[in-house]
């Protein structure tokens, strides 16, 4: 795993603090709180709005409708191959805002820290948030830090909220799919969920399964430039691609037919899924999107995606049909068709 404190060629030394672990007093609003914020947090996210340290960020937005989203990150373990809770928290909210077609402008960050958390771990997470925000081209303009007692949290919880501005005339919605539309997936499925699960369950493979955590605002922009008539984008996070596609089918009251043989899954991820008896269609992704586009524009969208660093493996995985509205069906390698339903509760490994 790469050292998160030295990403993208910039150095990120751990500041010298009085305590090497988080104390309850770091969240009490006194001098220790100020110390934590001034030395650990503000230097990472520094910009003119944040540095003013007002109770709120005041922003001037370009014309258009405002897109607003929030997400809370409680992942265990905090660090996993290909990422950590920090870049996940930035990319997750950037992606949720970006799926509307919005230009992502600013994020807030709420940190809930557990007493006793090593400052080095907090620093590593903050550095990777800094790197992720830089990569996504968004500013962190306001935030909050709380500390809970030992045993009352799981190291770090992070809430991020984000706002963006949707350009005039753009109105993407999952209820706009039409029969004949093509369904395009930007790359391999299940990388993130299996990266976390293999670490959590102590499974080891010849090469570590790595999370796909990535900001997708650039990819959305590239696709919209190539094809302004995209019906909708969505990032298949929790619940996986199966959940996203069921949402599309139900919102638009159309059927979706998938071709199982073209759905990309990395061999190591597929191996991990086979061992645990888990279907990659139901596993979380953190750097992939699925979009529905008019059939005539599928080639242009595919070309735009494949030219982008986060869409190199993009592929048409299926099409929208008038039959079986609300249902996603998939043709398998043997030619038979089956339903791809929403998952029920947690994905549970089978006994044998």
């Amino acid at each position: 795993m790469s050292d998160a404190a030295n990403m993208d060629g910039f150095s990120c030394p751990l500041p010298i603090l009085e305590h090497d672990t988080v104390q309850l007093a770091h969240g009490a609003g006194g001098s220790l709180s100020a110390d934590l914020i001034d030395k650990m947090i503000v230097p990472r996210f520094s910009n003119t709005v944040l540095d003013a340290l007002e109770d709120q960020a005041v922003l001037t937005l370009p014309a258009g409708r405002v897109a607003f989203s929030t997400d809370t990150f409680v992942v265990s373990p905090l660090f996993f191959p290909g990422g950590d809770i920090g870049d996940l928290a930035i990319n997750g909210t950037v992606n949720d805002v970006a799926m509307s077609g919005a230009e992502v402008i600013a994020l807030s960050v709420g940190l809930v820290l557990e007493e006793g958390l090593p400052m080095a771990d907090l620093h590593r997470v903050l550095c990777s948030m800094e790197a992720a925000a830089k990569k996504a081209g968004v500013k962190i303009v306001t935030g909050d830090t709380k500390v809970v007692g030992k045993g009352q949290g799981d190291g770090i919880y992070i809430n991020t909220s984000g706002i963006g501005v949707v350009p005039e005339g753009l109105n993407l919605t999952a209820s706009a799919l039409q029969p004949g539309d093509r369904i395009i997936l930007s790359g391999t499925l299940a990388d993130h969920g299996m990266a976390v699960m293999t670490v959590r369950e102590g499974l080891s493979f010849q090469s570590a399964v790595e999370s796909d955590s990535a900001p997708l605002n650039g990819l959305v922009k590239a696709v919209l430039e190539a094809c302004p008539n995209v019906r909708t984008f969505r990032d298949p996070t929790r619940g996986g691609a199966a959940t996203t596609l069921n949402e599309f089918a139900q919102s638009s009251k159309v059927g979706i037919k998938l071709d199982e043989t073209v759905i990309p899954v990395r061999p190591d991820v597929r191996g991990a899924c086979e061992i645990l008896g888990i279907d990659p269609l139901y596993v979380a992704n953190e750097g992939k999107l699925i979009c529905a586009v008019p059939a005539g524009e599928a080639d242009a969208v595919l070309a735009a995606m494949q030219a982008h660093e986060f869409g190199a493996d993009a592929v048409v995985i299926g099409e929208v049909v008038a039959e079986h509205p609300g249902i996603v069906a998939m043709r398998g390698a043997l030619g038979a068709e089956r339903i791809v339903d929403r998952p029920v509760g947690l994905q549970l490994p089978r006994i044998c």
Binding site: E201, P267, R270, G271, E274, G277, E323, H324, I327, A329, G332, A333, L334, G335, A336, E337, R338, I339, D341, V344, G345, L348, P349, R350, I351, C352
Partner: protein, 364 residues
């Protein structure tokens, strides 16, 4: 991916389907024993691809489905005790008892943990000497060696805080119960490949001979299943009631003697109640009397449990191959994976859950 792609090859599948079509001159009813096979059949649509002459009925080989309600209720009572760390394979966590499941016990503060191996539970016992670690040991012959090894390991280390709730079941007595039923329709069996990997296939020869049915140890990938069906149909057409191994890469005639030695050292054969079917003589495994210290049901007093199955559920008939899930009036209505009335809907390997998940509505 090696060892997977060659067993999912569409061209080979087509050739096997054509060969099955050519071979079958009359209707045959074949039961796949194992829930893993049912899952694979529905997932790959093999039931849709077979000629109409071949009817597959789904057998009792889902360990989650056949675990009796009493065992689950006792497990829930033990899991709720404050001194207990309760461990189980993932898909047992959602199985409903009379009123509860392990997830709900966990949400009320029970220390319930999912493990991938019973040896993880032994590890927990080692690391938490002040707590009682209990493992819910369910399954067929396949999982018995690992579960037996956990007790062997705990005994070797002198761990007094490890115990198991054992509800192991055995395949051959269940096959005999199905075959000797007056309503039996099954004419040939796909035997469960992983069970045979442990037990070998010699024990099926007397059953094949006594009841006049071919028995074919079969794997789980589409090509394995089609090859198993072809071998069964060939034997049925030839009137050949013997055992034909179609899972050569995993199943040897003698099975895995080392695994069976561990099982025999820790467990002994007993009568066992199967959920939805009833008690089948000699169809289970229990902890040997001299190892009673590792028997959670003896260690913890959880008597006075009364159980009640929903009257509408036909899981028992489904597990015996008498009915298909979509023949149940509650299927997909009162009974769904979110609100299961019977265990065949709750386990991912249960026939009802497989029908609901893959083929609930007719697709063109």
């Amino acid at each position: 991916m090696k060892y997977l792609d060659e067993y999912r090859d569409p061209a080979l599948a087509r050739r096997l389907l054509d060969e099955i079509q050519r071979t079958a001159t009359q209707p045959w009813v074949i039961m796949e024993i194992c829930g893993g096979q049912t899952h694979s059949i529905l997932r790959n649509g093999i039931d849709q691809l077979l000629p109409e002459t071949i009817e597959l009925v789904h057998g009792p080989g889902c360990p989650v489905c056949v675990t009796p309600l009493e065992t689950i209720d006792r497990a829930l009572a033990i899991a709720a005790r404050p001194e207990v760390i309760f461990t189980s394979f993932g898909d047992m966590l959602r199985v409903p008892g009379t009123r509860d499941d392990l997830f709900r016990v966990k949400s009320r503060g029970g220390d319930v943990r999912m493990v991938y191996s019973p040896l993880e539970a032994v590890h927990l016992a080692r690391e938490n000497p002040q707590r009682e670690v209990v493992f819910l040991a369910v399954g067929f012959e396949t999982t018995a060696p690992g579960n037996a090894m956990a007790i062997q390991q705990a005994r070797a280390e002198g761990l007094e805080n490890f115990s198991e709730i054992v509800s192991h079941v055995l395949v051959p007595p269940a096959m005999e119960a199905i075959l000797s039923s007056p309503t039996n329709r099954v004419q040939g069996f796909l035997a469960a490949g992983h069970v045979c990997a442990i037990m070998g296939w010699k024990e099926y020869e007397p059953i094949a001979a006594k009841y006049g049915v071919p028995i074919v140890p079969t794997g789980f990938e589409p090509i394995d299943i089609l090859d198993g069906i072809l071998k069964t149909v060939q034997a049925l057409e030839a009137g050949d009631a013997t055992v034909h191994n179609a899972y050569l890469r995993a199943v040897k005639e003698q099975g895995n003697p080392a695994a069976r030695t561990v099982v025999d050292a820790i467990y002994e054969v007993c009568d066992r109640k199967w959920r939805g079917i009833g008690t089948i003589p000699g169809s289970g495994l229990r902890i040997r009397d001299e190892l009673a210290a590792f028997d959670a049901e003896k260690k913890f007093d959880v008597g006075g449990i009364s159980t009640e199955e929903p009257a509408v559920c036909i899981a028992g008939e489904i597990l015996q191959g008498l009915k298909k899930p979509d023949e149940c009036p509650a299927f997909g209505k009162e009974c769904t994976p979110t609100h299961p009335l019977g265990a065949t809907m709750v386990s991912s390997e249960g026939a009802c859950a497989a029908y609901f998940r893959y083929s609930r509505k007719g697709l063109s």
